[in-house]
């Protein structure tokens, strides 16, 4: 199979749940995990005679998302009914937007592993309400309408991505932006950030798109990448063996690592979209749009630029440290106490993130608090302990959540900066290594490092490194 001859064309649709207190068109709580059918009312269960009223906060969060994704916001847009039959859709239609969404023409710039940046277009963002939840049991289907009417935005990308990595990076960037701006909590397990992928393959350089397949509801970044990877190979293999790709919806089976057919695609006009007669045109006043723009929270890219400027960080460091809002906040807290940007960045990225990853923990549940880490960095900067000892201390801090001071005290890790104590250690090393000493004296100055290393060992790593270096040289040359 020659994958190189082909290229994939990928577009993503993301449904993001808006962080409101109440639902989109009624006053029921927008809350996950309540007892089934306790957050419901006549509006969200589609009782005759009930009417929707738009939640202002949901509109505000939607506009915020549009601004964060560099989209145009349209002062006038229209809600539409999307009609289909399914029991978790009690009204028989979903209130959505179709021909005139509130926002179009945006983009995100994503970082690729090659070091390059890629701009990925956003076709549109529209408002819609969520459907209820169906649980399929052996004896029947259980319908819970707590989620029916929960406010969503659907973010539709341009078919600009060409491989699974680009799609993964787009999703990560989008997820991070929505979380930074307090639009969506991004919880993928609870279904608050869901992704559908449209994938087709074509011969490299062809301008026509192949028949596309839709992958539905994949709930982790890793699975999205795996599912797309699998689907590209499946389609290339099918095309190569003369099969026709059928337009269909498939789902990712994470146990078997394959995609499986869910259903044949219903054509768009089967949804019989028409303007929602129960709602007026959606109108945003320019004054309100201005106010939302003014109150925009800082976005990851802006945080990254500020970090680079204030703490003299590299592009790479700044991009890692702004990977999530929680991590950026942690780092800011460390640096505001340690007053050492570069060291704080190194400690957070190398020591903390490494250990968190290995322990499968998020920064929010780090056993070492930002203040504790800052305190450790201050102890290195003041010369109380060496950087090398600090690593050992940190390991202990991570395991026990204790402060650096108490670990240093318990283990007797105080750095030795007393010249007399160091001199006796150095002399001992020279006595124990007479032949190396003779070689040094005969001109093999490279051996300086050897003596410094041995002397450091002699002090159990507690010697002040700068002072030790100086003294070793002085004593050897005496």
């Amino acid at each position: 199979m020659s994958l190189e001859k082909y290229e994939a064309v990928i577009g993503l649709e993301v449904h993001a749940q808006l962080m409101t207190a109440s639902k989109m068109f009624c006053c029921c709580p927008n809350r996950y995990g309540s007892l089934p059918n306790t957050n419901i009312c006549p509006v969200c269960t589609g009782q005759p005679g009930s009417l929707p009223v738009i939640n202002k906060k949901a509109m505000e969060l939607g506009v915020r998302a549009a601004i964060a994704l560099s989209c145009e916001v349209h002062p006038e847009s229209i809600f539409a009914r999307k009609n289909y039959f399914y029991p978790d859709l009690p009204k028989g239609y979903q209130i959505s937007q179709y021909e005139r969404p509130y926002s179009t023409h945006g983009h995100i710039v994503v970082q690729l592993k090659t070091g390059e940046e890629k701009r990925i277009g956003i076709t549109r963002i529209h408002f819609e309400e969520d459907a209820g939840k169906s649980n399929h049991e052996s004896y029947g289907t259980l319908v819970n309408l707590n989620r029916a009417g929960v406010p969503l935005i659907e973010i539709v990308s341009e078919p600009d991505m060409r491989n699974a990595h680009e799609a993964g990076q787009y999703l990560r960037a989008l997820h991070s932006i929505l979380r930074y701006a307090d639009i969506c909590d991004g919880n993928m397990e609870e279904g608050n950030f869901r992704c559908d992928a449209n994938i087709s393959v074509r011969l490299r350089g062809a301008d026509k798109f192949g028949t596309r397949v839709e992958l539905k509801n994949i709930n982790s970044f890793k699975f999205v990448e795996k599912a797309i990877e699998y689907e590209i190979q499946r389609q290339v293999f099918a095309v190569e063996s003369g099969e026709k790709i059928i337009q269909q919806t498939r789902s990712w089976n994470s146990a078997k690592n394959i995609t499986e057919v869910m259903r044949e695609k219903e054509e768009a006009h089967d949804y019989r979209y028409f303007p929602e007669p129960d709602l007026p045109k959606l109108v945003f006043s320019l004054a309100w749009l201005d106010q939302i723009k003014k109150e925009m929270p800082e976005l990851p890219q802006e945080t990254s630029i500020r970090f680079k400027k204030s703490f003299e960080l590299s592009d790479y460091d700044a991009s890692v440290l702004t990977g999530s809002k929680e991590l950026a906040n942690y780092f800011e807290s460390v640096v505001s106490h340690s007053k050492n940007g570069k060291a704080s960045a190194n400690w957070v990225m190398n020591e903390l993130l490494g250990r968190l990853n290995a322990a499968n923990k998020e920064v929010e549940s780090s056993p070492v608090t930002a203040i504790q880490l800052a305190d450790l960095i201050c102890k290195i900067d003041s010369g109380e302990i060496s950087g090398k000892i600090a690593k050992t201390v940190f390991e202990e801090m991570f395991a026990t959540s204790k402060d650096a001071s108490s670990i240093i005290k318990e283990k007797g890790f105080i750095q030795i900066s007393d010249p007399i104590a160091l001199e006796s250690a150095i002399c001992k090393v020279i006595e124990n290594n007479p032949s190396q000493f003779a070689e040094y004296k005969a001109g093999k100055v490279k051996l300086l490092g050897f003596f410094v290393g041995q002397a450091m060992k002699e002090t159990q790593g507690q010697a002040n490194p700068a002072l030790l270096n100086e003294l070793v040289k002085k004593i050897l040359d005496r």
């Binding site: 006053c27 059918n37 009223v53 738009i54 229209i78 004896y139 029947g140 259980l142 259903r263 007026p280």
Partner: protein, 96 residues
């Protein structure tokens, strides 16, 4: 005239099984409905359709406040069968 295939597709979307006789019946009846809509299309309307009747200053937003509806049991008890406080239906295929 609507084709036999078109009628069968609509029936499938509506989850209906039709007899031969009904297929012919609906071919004629649905065609008449569509013809009537063709007539309605003569009426000049804009793309916004019947949203146009609402004046544009009628925009009314609701503040984001929770006011729980207390009679949710009343809503659930409309259902023919309830199980674990859920509406129980015959087994369905996945759709989302």
């Amino acid at each position: 005239m609507l084709s036999r295939e078109e009628v069968l597709k609509i029936a499938k979307l509506a989850r209906l099984t039709l007899t031969e006789e009904e297929i012919g019946f609906y071919q004629r009846q649905l065609t008449r409905v569509l013809d009537h809509i063709q007539d309605l299309n003569q009426v000049p309307t804009s793309k916004e359709g019947f949203v146009q009747h609402v004046p544009s200053d009628a925009q009314c937003f609701r503040e984001d406040r929770v006011e729980p509806f207390l009679n949710h049991d009343g809503l659930i008890n409309n259902a023919p069968v309830v199980e674990n406080n859920c509406f129980l239906l015959p087994t369905l295929v996945e759709h989302s």
